[in-house]
Symmetry: C2
Subunit: 380 residues, 2 copies
């Protein structure tokens, strides 16, 4: 199926959509890329799709775009390709996208760099933050990103000034991999001052965009781009963020996609930590102080749930109430929160607070008969 | 009932117990202080009580202790007195003290200072932390404690070096009140270097101890004392704490007694913020950045639940998911978490995470029919 005409169909759809487009993704899911591209070209569409494709369906730049990306030494990766990070993109199916048409997988990714997209995103952490960090933010970014990269984790970020650039550079410095996800075509260096940095990122890792070449960066594209940083990662760590920060948006995507949103705390007197402290305070992010905290949170997600052996090694990541609650669960069967409170000796409020965290981390599930360890549930 | 012989009975029991003693408190609850004191003096006790009173029952220092406290211009406040903070001490009844005999109200409080104990603890915040804070910790302590004290909140702390002393001084500096809860008799200045500070605290506020005069500070008494800092406060804020810190113990008491445990975040590179960051990370404390964050958390507790009008003013304190979940609850009747997820548009995990927080804050309760707003529940 992955022949040139199919790739051309995906490229056409990608450039017509110019970013996430729920109705178009639905059409592709229903009839496949080839027929979807044909339907758009021939204007054989229900009204909702006519509306969203109207302005760009005549601009068939697929052949030019594919030629350009090839001339740059890059490629256009589609859901038909082996290196498509399929299991990561499943997160879009798992979340309620009803009200937001941008909460869909991209219609292909334009890529610079020789590494395999699937392999590089097998173990990946999003590291993001303000464009104007303090010295503290820059140094914590370097510490966390280099520790993660040195342990073989790919750093996913946005190549922006500040925390993003520090994260990419930290990965490069330990000869680790990073992925820069752009809000414009990968033929553009954005920001322009990062042209050399982007070239180096593509050497050791990948520069990626869902926007066809020649697409300019626009405000809404940064927000759309942020969802890709989240979906390509096991967790997203915000290192420093002011009160209003794009990084907070990335963390929000992470939560919606089932990835832990993490934030590094900082001085309550620092304007560049206000956003992180707020996210932690409001339960939007889990506090992390270092790379090992990040991996405690990111850990469970990457193990296929059915193969998880919830032995000491895995529960090592659990601490405090969560560990007590988990250990209070029987190996077979379920318990109600009140029974768990009795079994664990914890107040019922602590049990109720720990359960959703354990659920998010993939350790427990609930049904009508109560809360279960994941493995028992799967086996039953 | 509050005659001299009763006070003398309480004082005798206080000095026999020398700190919290569950079995003795049970006896007092069952037969009253006068008969309890007689039973201990006459050794007319069940074996469990014989054991815990054996070593000190012969040392009847009540008369001397009462004379000494009077000579110091102080007094011994008992549960029979009007200024006894009765409603605060109710928290001990509300928690499961089964396994810990120290989780009981004190058998009276030895007090220096002219203010009423009940009035001064009507609106009170515990402010505690490491004995060796950084400049950051000292300055944040001063900011938060003086803001709270200037708004009429009493600062409750332990008069130790570091954060405790900074908190008391900040209250004094704005002519606010503070309460120093000691782990030794109030006739002792501990630490000795704080003799003048303790004298000033007693002028504008109170110096308090459950230990009779002449009791020396011992390690276990600091831990017992910490529960009193918690119970006399609407919330306990830990400003800075190292990895192992008594302040963390105070926060633990706060949680067990139904008071919000709060912590100020700090640099992940600061050893004096490790404890606070950890508490926040592990869900043991809520992140607070300033006095107004503290009051958002401390607020609901001090309103008698039956009189709470959950109007805009009160829900002002709610943010993010908690506000959305609260607003999704009907005015009459209950909803299951799944229904709340549908009504609020939030993922079920977020709803499950928000509910225990709302419950802790006193906004919602649950029963067999689901989750309810508190006011409806009370009215039904």
């Amino acid at each position: 199926m992955n022949d040139d005409s199919s790739r051309s169909a995906w490229a056409y759809l990608s450039s017509v959509a110019q970013g996430p487009c729920g109705p178009l993704s639905d059409l592709v899911a229903a009839v496949g890329a080839d027929d979807a591209a044909r339907a758009v070209r021939e204007w054989d569409l229900p009204p909702a799709l006519q509306k969203v494709t109207q302005s760009r369906r005549h601009l068939d730049t697929a052949a030019d775009d594919l030629e350009l990306i090839e001339s740059l030494g890059g490629r256009f990766v589609t859901p038909d390709d082996a290196e498509w990070p399929s299991w990561r993109m499943l997160a879009f199916d798992g979340c309620d996208s009803g009200r937001e048409s941008e909460l869909v997988a991209p219609l292909g990714l334009w890529v610079l760099g020789t590494a395999s997209l699937a392999e590089l995103t097998d173990r990946a952490i999003g590291v993001v933050g303000t464009r104007a960090p303090s010295n503290y933010g820059t140094s914590v970014t370097a510490d966390i990103a280099s520790d993660l990269a040195a342990q073989g984790w790919t750093i996913v970020s946005g190549a922006a000034f500040g925390v993003d650039a520090a994260a990419h550079r930290a990965a490069l410095a330990v000869e680790g991999a990073s992925i820069a996800v752009l809000a414009c075509g990968v033929d553009r260096a954005y920001p322009a001052a990062h042209q050399a940095l982007l070239r180096r990122i593509a050497e050791d890792g990948l520069v990626v965009s869902e926007y066809a070449p020649n697409t300019t960066p626009q405000r809404h594209r940064f927000l759309e781009r942020n969802r890709l940083i989240a979906v390509l990662s096991d967790a997203v760590a915000v290192i420093e963020a002011g009160r209003r920060s794009g990084a907070r948006n990335t963390a929000k995507w992470a939560r919606r996609l089932g990835r832990p949103a993490l934030a590094v705390p900082g001085s309550v007197n620092s304007t560049t930590s206000v956003g992180c402290n707020q996210m932690i305070r409001e339960g939007e992010a889990i506090l992390v102080a270092n790379a090992s905290d990040v991996l405690v949170e990111a850990g469970p997600l990457r193990l296929p749930v059915d193969e998880v052996t919830l032995d000491q090694r895995v529960t090592d990541g659990l601490v405090g109430d969560q560990l007590l609650v988990y250990e209070a669960l029987p190996v077979v069967g379920g318990l109600a929160p009140q029974q768990l409170a009795e079994a664990s000796g914890l107040p019922i409020g602590n049990v109720r607070a720990a359960l959703p965290m354990l659920e998010l981390a993939g350790f427990v599930v609930s049904d009508e008969s109560g809360w279960h360890r994941v493995r028992q549930r799967r086996a039953s």
